[in-house]
Structure formats: structure tokens, C-alpha cells
Amino acid sequence: MLKDHKTAYYYCLYGLRVSSDLELPEVLPGVESNVNDLSIRLGDLRGDESATAELRGPFLRAAPDMLNLVVPGVVEMAARNGRNLLYRPFEGIDEASVRLFLLGSGIGAILMQLGHLVLHGNTIEINEGCIVCVGQSSAGKSTIAAGMLQRGYRILADDISPVDEDGLVVPGLPRIKIWQKSADILGLNTEGMARIRPELSKFNIPLGTSFCDQKRVLKGVVILDQHNDTDVSVQLVSGQEKFRLLRQNVYRSRFVDGMLLKKSYFQQTMNLAANLPVIRINRPKKGNSVESVLDKIEDFINSAELSS
């Protein structure tokens, strides 16, 4: 049941001053202000201008600076001009579920509209910069982020990692999301942690002082993948393959196409491919290989490729 929407809350999210009529406990509190970069508010999306925007998926309409997305049974969202994120919850849905998708695909669309190249991965602070660990669903991104936390690293962003025009990653939410099974593997206690949705055993883990709230220059990319082999393998990626893999790990490429951002994204991805070392780590689909993967990531962090 949603609370009174006349109240305004203020936050700092991806470097934006945000006012919201929905409480967002996962987000860093901001300063109350009449000047805001992003407004998140309940909206009536019926008869919205985007009704004429092109259908880009069964639940997605998009046009330049405009994106409408429906999560059936949960929430309908509209991202406008990088400045407004409207939402309309479905009857009876809980707030945590609404927030999950607003702070996922909703904010992802806003960041794209602001001109960032958004990668689908977690950003980890390293000396003199950061790396982004990207990968598809179930590749182990969040588990790896939690593991790096345990090894003393700080996190800038979870799942949505925007790279600005200067090649810096912009910090996002001061939390990571982790499945119960991954928490068990890492020995993390989830008792008292909020579930991302009432019936999922995936938890919001607050980062506290392990959150890096400053932009950091992107120094390298790790692509996490799985295979049917028994070993963890590492491969330094080069040439066209680098560009192809980076493109594959852009957040919501369907949004990019729909909002006609392909050309700028192509250039931004080319720049990353030209300037950044990229490795691909394949882990076995079965068994626990977390520590081995973390070792390989630390080897990469300490390697000559990242120091040059």
C-alpha cells in the first residue's frame, strides 16, 4: 500500500539531486531544495504523449528522450528527458516492488537520456580509479561485488554503472543486492536485511562506509560468464571481440535503440574498447568458484594492463 504522495523526499542518486514523492530508503539522503535534477513522482500515464512512441518490445515504447515501460502487475514507468521519472503502481502492489523497478530499468533509462554510456555491471573502486564487472543475468555480478567488499574494496554502483563523457563512472546506490545462496557461500548474514521484494530471498545489503560516493575513472572491464567446463578460465580480450563484448554488456540495448542513441553509444563503446583493458572470466556453472574468480579479478587489478 503506497503512502501519502504529497510528501517530498530528497536524495542524491548518480550525482543527481532528486526529489521524490516515494520514499526510497535504499538511496543516499539529499538536501531539501527547490532545485532538483530529477523528479520521481506518481503520474497519470494514460493519454501520455508516449502513446505514439514506437513499440520496442511487448511492454516497451520509446522515442528520443522518452521511454515507457510496463512491468505487468507491478508498475508502469515513464522516463522523460533525463529529468522526470513518472510511475503508476498496479493495484495492491507493495512499495518495495515498485522501487525495485524504478531504481532499475527506470533510472537506467534516465541515465541514458542524460548521455551516459550505461554498463550492466557493478563498479569496484581500485587505486587510481575503478573497474566494472559486467555480465548477463546469473553471471554472478552481485556475488562478486559482495566478495570484493569482503576483501576490502569499496563499491560505486550495483548493476547499473553509468560512464560519463569524461570516462568516469558515476556512483549510484549505497547498497548491493545479493541472493541468499550467495550470501551463504560468502558467510554473509542477511538477518535483519530488507528483501528486495517480499517473496524473494534476495536482500538489499547497505554498503555504509564501503560505498564510494565519488566518481572514479574507469580503468578496466571484467566480463563475467559461465561455461560447462570445470575450471575458471581467464582471457585477455582484444580487437573486434573487445568491442563486441562491450556492446553486448551495455545496459538495456533495446532502450538505446528505442531512444535512438545507437550512434552516440557506438562511439562511446569504441572509445572504451580503444582505451581500456578487458578480460573475460568464465566460471563453471556448477560448484563454488567464487574465491577463484575473485583471485583472478585481483590479479587483473594488480596487472600491468591496468597500471599502464
Binding site: 511487448p58 505487468p72 548477463q136 543475468s137 541468499q180 528486495i196 561455461h227 560447462n228 556448477k286
Partner: protein
Amino acid sequence: MSQGLCWLASYPKSGNTWLRVLLTNLLSEDAEPARINSLVASQIASSRPWLDDVLGFDSADLYPQELLTMRPNVYQWCNTQASGLVFYKTHDANIEISDGVYLFPPDAFSNVVYVIRNPLDVAISFSAHMSLSIDKAIAAMNRHDYTLVKETRRSLNQQAEQPLLSWSQHVKSWVDNPMFESHVIRYEDMHAFPVKIFHDVASYLKIPICETTLARAIRNSSFNILRNQENAERFTERPVSATAFFRRGVAGSWSEVLKRTQIERIIEDHHEVMKRFSYIDEQNQPQEQIPGNTCYEA
């Protein structure tokens, strides 16, 4: 050629991959055999990365039932966007999600090829693939609620849940669906009458072929070639727990492997569908030489 999605549907270990090998070779202009890691229909209906891309949000953030109700929309959308004939594979039973709404509704494809295999042989292959004892595999094949990649809500798998139902229910969910007709082929007929079977598949899919192409495709799809390829390069779709994917590729090994009690149990569980597809005779006895009959009515 037809236009839209073509689902290659089957219960697991029923010849789906071999069908994909044959189709890849049929569609290829290359004289060399197709590579096992470059087959058509490498995309499976339950693939999370694919579902996430089309949905526009993370399927991992959905409850299993929510995702199930959205999957038909994904397939319908992809069918409207397909350029040419695009093959996808699935092991899902075509379950009815809600009144009259199926997981694979008729507007989610242009064609369906359903491969059926003698459950006596499926049990053996399924047990090896899933690292189950044969008895446990037989029990699983009779479970009405059997699901591959069952969601635990505690972790995430690269694929979404795949409801299989029982083997018999799986077959009927595709072959007897009231809203469309599938092109049904038997694994055993793929072995015994490959020219006729694949000529019919090509006709069904409106793929123009000549006899030379057909003969070459069949020759290049032999199990020996597949096994040799798998020995030389790992088949990426083979689970870690299985020692080989392309094991024997024969029909009828059940008579050497299964105990009498296991055979009787499978027949007891699935006799209606087995009789319909000539895997048992009128006296419910298993047929060692499956009669050649490539035409089955729904």
C-alpha cells in the same frame, strides 16, 4: 521459406539437438558438416538473457508465476519481429497458463516441429544427462509437476523454470493443443527414414531443397561425426555432470539396458501415448522394431 519463429519442441533427450544438427546442415551451403557449437536454435525459450532483453527489465526480479505469464508476450513479440524463419528450441510443455492462454500461443510462432522419442529410451538418456538413477528418471518422467531448473527463490539460474509435466502430458500439450497443429516426427523415424522425414520437415517449413542437399545434410549429421566433433571440442551445451552429450544415438537400446520391472513401470505410466505412437502394441507390449509410420493424427 516460412516467416516467423519455428519452435523445435521436445521432452528432454528426445532428439532435439540432432534435429538442430540436421536442420543446420540442410540450410548450409557448406560441403563440410556443421559444427556442434554453431547450430540453429541455440537460443532456448527459457533463456534469461533473452527474456530480460525483450522484457526490458530483469526476469530475476520477478516471481516465477509472474515470469510465466509474461513469457507468451515475449514469444509473440519476437514472432512479429522475425525476419525470415528463425529457429528456437524448447523443452517446456505447452502448458495452459490461464484460461485459453498457453505458454506458446498460436501467434507466438509460424511453425512447430515436435520430436517424440520412445520413453523407454528417453529414461536411459535422461538419467545419464541429469545424473539420476534410471528409477529416479522414470519417477521424474511420471511427475505431473516436474519442472526443469525449479526456482528456489534463493538463487538465480541462467534459465527460467521449465515446466515439463509428465512425459505423456508433455507430448499431449504440444501434439493435442486445441489451437494449433504441430508437425510431429519420431526420433526412431529420423534414424530409419531420414530422407522421408527431412523431406517432409523441409516441405512443412517451406525450405526449398534438392535431393543432393538432403543426402549431404543427412550424411553430415551422422552420430559418428557428432561424437568425433565432441571429442575434439567441448560441446558447450553439455552439462558438466554428463560425460558426453552425443552418447550412442541409437534407437532401441532400452531392451539391453532396462530391467523388466522398469519397462513395465514406464508402460504403466505412459501406455496411452506409447500405443498411439506405436511404441507398444495392442497388448501393451513394447515393440523392439518400431513399425515405420510417419503419419500421426492429433
